[in-house]
Symmetry: C3
Subunit: 467 residues, 3 copies
């Protein structure tokens, strides 16, 4: 369907008119993308993207899980089993399967993002159906073959001011080095995500620590050496533009151990095979250690807590991670964060951005915490909640207690590069609609709302992430 | 008050007009009622219903609990104590008490259902008050005496295509047999609800297993015999039309035991008096066993979890169950269902429909699970949430992640037969209003919404329940 | 900004017109304030209030926590450290700091309350900014100096019919005695809040019991004497107008112990230093004891559960309580209240009003409980949820199950005396907006909604609190 200029804005005419005026002031602002999962090699190598299916379907876990839930096997969607077993390799065949199931996405954000992408990026206005599958495939494929659709050209076309990628602690950052050396003007920065050397429950934890030691020249056999190795890697990441770290933990548990306790715990987990309790305690303690390092080096800290990764073991063993089988769980913050907050919660120099998949914590825990502790800021609605309804719930449940300035604007948080303009556009529209309701009910003057719309579009993100 | 043609539709004029057009396409569609608690003897015997109070007030736990909460004793509402103690037996007196408290239901779904029933079924448009009580009582009583208000006539008048009742495993299904033998064309099917032979915490559990053995000729002294007895009863229920089983458990806990473990557990619970932990584990294991049997016999599985039944012991001991003192509790699904999902979660041949009384799980747990696992579907908002606001919350919190096709349309889930058209009408109105908002905000084209309205009205139910 | 006559009403024109008509019927009704924390000495002594900052900023934990969260130290806001350390003492300087950060409150209820207070009480319509700080300070200060702004004059100007303050069990109630003796006609009553002699986790618990014994002449060394002392204090509070008690507990846990169990538990906690489990059990048992005493003396019981008080130990140790660092936690009611409800839940003579900071319990636990048990009523949205969105969530999630008459109208629950009219006005507007939606969607007739608006404005509060 052709994009409507008022899409996603409130239907009430008075409110819509206000929303439209607000939106018009931010629609064209540069994109600041402080957290996401695009591949820096795209920008380093600037090679054309593959076919439409491999660009838009195969890597998108939102699309995969919905199709799987309705009985379409991952193999038919082009996902390769880890043992290299049979799977569809013809992009056009994958696209046809996808197109035949397009109705499943009605009312979902995937539909909004892809409608926007189809029309604004690929000039496609007709509805995706089994009948139109080949036409849309060909239209997209044709464009992808042109130089104007290479990664750097798209980066510039999208109006991206800065984009952060996310790399593990052991990543050599070659792609970032190559971008920097290339003379290209696009700002692509990294983010320090040390989960692979922080989570003792990972099968490769012990080997990762060996690599971390080799990489830094520090003795990761000791707690002191391990911390020094982190400091060394953080410095390297900063040198490649990082302004933030990111921590993906099953819970928000934190701990504040004495050096002796921490060293003893490290000795227990160092070799792998630690108890689940020790693993949880170690992850918890490391959040506080990372916060302390942030006080020294200024990296903003992000905590993404509460996902039960790889809930279906048979999907994980056959296809690996990130196939749509990560499920949110209840998550506590009030008790969980207390050790960290007792240690550093009142430090104005430090910024910790909290994300949740448990919306019940918005009004009960996160807004009251962020509305009091100077270190805390609330990240935008995450993952399943990065949607029109999810965004409205977030604003309506957090603003009255935490205000706007304890939030950090929008994260696209995506590996789906072509969808980035669509995602920022959706956020700007929903935010302007929400602000318009406050104006229409005379809680804000329109000039105040306009200032807030700009903050939401990119001002808050720039400042919170120190960009 | 006279029913307004636009009742329950969104107030914004643009949205309302769309909603009205959508509603007009589904208002007259046949009723598919795949889960409920009407009494099959009504349709077997086709006797006139008793007086207005005994039809509309005495059996309705929604009405009873509200009146009790405001100080009206159950005895005054015609509810007989189990010891046969004094209670009001005059239908007109009960009705007067009810009418004098009618204001208490303002803003509740009972008001919506009864307004609809009064006007469309009994031709009553005046407001129910103490002053109008006798007039309304007489008007209803007069109609109930006519043949046009016998159960089969109402079934046909209501446009019911199929209705499922719910019977315990030990029910002889005589009423269903009589309906089938009668030559009447109404489709009334049963549902296999084995709680009385699955829950070891019931006082009659051991005796029920004896009866189950006698009924099936299987040796319910052994685990193997017990399973065989279930298979035998499921086959009998299927022969009486059942396409589904239903499981009412205090939690959604599941377990996947080895045969030896299960047999040992069965030996511990068989005689009654098992520990609460064993009772919970047995119920948990039986959900997985039932799922496995469904893979063989094709019965769709429903899980209604999370009600604390008979929360007030003094009400239960004096009046028995279903008097409005069942209270929802926090319910976990992500961990609880994992053993079941690990066993059969990826089977496309199996359908498991989940219901909840804990709305916090909609966006956090149920939609992500149903939006990934092929076996899972989400049942409609249940019980306390079968209401305008409850329905809106359900759609707004589940659709963006699970889409529409991982839900199953509407269940009236009622024993209040006269209210069935009112309940389906309310659901159709709320669903059309929700769809209209998606159209008005340009997230859907109207033809797409119209197709979805039809699915919600009865298409999804037909397919999910294999009707 | 100048107050708009339609502020906070729904933007849809049809709905707004209905809301406005409903609001006009209640806007001028007397204020009934059955629960709050104003200081009775204000009304006893009738001295002028101090400067604008000390009246409006320094004591307001909503304002303090937001400013602290954005890096403003409490000392700069005029809050004195408990050790008497350095802090700003110039009211004008505090006000300037506040004014410079006024934008932080956009979209919060503090903004709504203060906009209303500025205009209706102090005649200020210009926006608060750094530039306007001195003008607004002077305007407020000038008025505060006049007799028309003394506490009793404001009480009368605000149209307060009755206001309840809250005093600890050991309070001598001198201020209430002085008010009664003064011949002034304002009705200021007390409330029995015995937390300081009920919570064994308090450092001063043992000393408080000694004082309680001395005050009442009862032997608080024994369980029987301790209960007798409570009865004595309750009688004194009743003599000073109390119609209610109030209980601020970390959880809603209740227990129903035998006399022997309770006496043994009391012996363990009496001297201080009891285990956390014993402290929790004692608080739990005391809720049931208080309910039993209420059956005798008719005091309405309020339970405010679920706040983690003084979450930040360094703020507490430096500045004391009530500085914005109390954080809500998950709270269970269904299991927690069962011992109490089993004991007295069906008593029509008793009223227990429940408050929560955990909104997930509205539809899942509180509405089903209050919609069944005669003793239970639901208090209005509390603290963080005393806001436009919070009020709407409360009505939308509780009414369909509990109806209106199981709720108790509005509590301003504030120590910010000048904001009381603003708070009641906000509640009346939001409630009328909610009712108007029910009328606009033809679920209520307008005369029914008008009656409910009056109930919400003060009728429900008068009856629930027996005022």
């Amino acid at each position: 369907m052709p994009l409507h200029p008022d899409r996603l804005l409130p239907p009430d005419p008075t409110t819509r008119a206000i929303a439209r005026r607000l939106y018009d002031t931010v629609a064209g602002l540069p994109i600041v993308s402080p957290h996401g999962h695009t591949d820096p090699r795209w920008f380093a190598d600037d090679q054309p993207f593959a076919d439409p299916a491999r660009l838009l379907v195969v890597p998108d876990h939102y699309l995969l899980r919905m199709l799987v839930s309705q009985g379409v096997p991952l193999e038919r969607l082009g996902v390769a089993p880890v043992d290299g077993g049979a799977h569809e390799t013809d992009g056009r065949a994958i696209w046809r399967t996808f197109a035949a199931h397009w109705h499943l996405f009605r009312g979902t954000p995937s539909r909004v993002w892809l409608d926007h992408t189809f029309e604004t990026l690929f000039g496609i206005e007709e509805r995706l159906t089994a009948a139109s599958a080949d036409r849309t495939y060909d239209a997209i494929a044709e464009r992808l073959a042109s130089d104007a659709y290479r990664p750097r050209a798209l980066f510039e076309r999208f109006g991206i001011e800065v984009i952060a990628t996310t790399e593990g602690a052991l990543d050599p950052l070659d792609a970032h080095r190559k971008i920097a050396a290339s003379g290209w003007g696009g700002r692509v920065i990294t983010t320090y995500r040390p989960d692979d050397v922080v989570d003792p429950a990972r099968a490769d934890f012990s080997a990762n620590l060996d690599r971390l030691g080799a990489m830094t020249g520090e003795d990761t056999g000791t707690w002191a050496g391990y911390l020094a190795a982190h400091r060394a890697r953080r410095a390297v990441f900063k040198a490649h533009g990082a302004t933030a770290s990111d921590h993906g933990h099953p819970t928000a548990a934190t701990a504040d151990l004495s050096t002796a306790e921490a060293a003893a715990l490290y000795a227990r987990v160092r070799g792998g095979g630690a108890s689940p309790e020790d693993c949880e305690l170690f992850r918890a303690a490391m959040l506080t250690e990372m916060a302390r390092m942030s006080l020294d080096d200024g990296l903003v800290m992000q905590i993404h807590a509460g996902s039960w990764r790889n809930h279906a073991p048979s999907v994980f063993s056959r296809f690996g991670p990130d196939k749509g089988f990560d499920i949110p769980r209840r998550t506590d913050y009030v008790g969980a964060l207390k050790p960290l907050l007792d240690a550093v919660g009142l430090e104005s120099r430090l910024t910790i951005i909290l994300f949740t998949l448990d919306e019940t914590t918005y009004s009960r825990e996160l807004a009251p915490l962020a509305g009091a502790y100077p270190v805390l800021r609330l990240g935008p609605p995450w993952w399943f909640h990065d949607s029109p309804e999810g965004m409205r719930r977030f604003r309506r449940r957090t603003t009255e207690t935490a205000g706007l300035w304890n939030t950090v604007g929008f994260n696209d948080d995506t590996r789906a590069f072509p969808s980035i303009p669509a995602r920022h556009d959706m956020a700007r529209r929903i935010d302007c609609g929400w602000l318009a309701e406050l104006v229409a009910t005379h809680q804000l003057d329109e000039d105040e709302a306009a200032e807030m719309a700009g903050e939401l579009a990119n001002g808050l993100a720039r400042r919170a992430y120190r960009l």
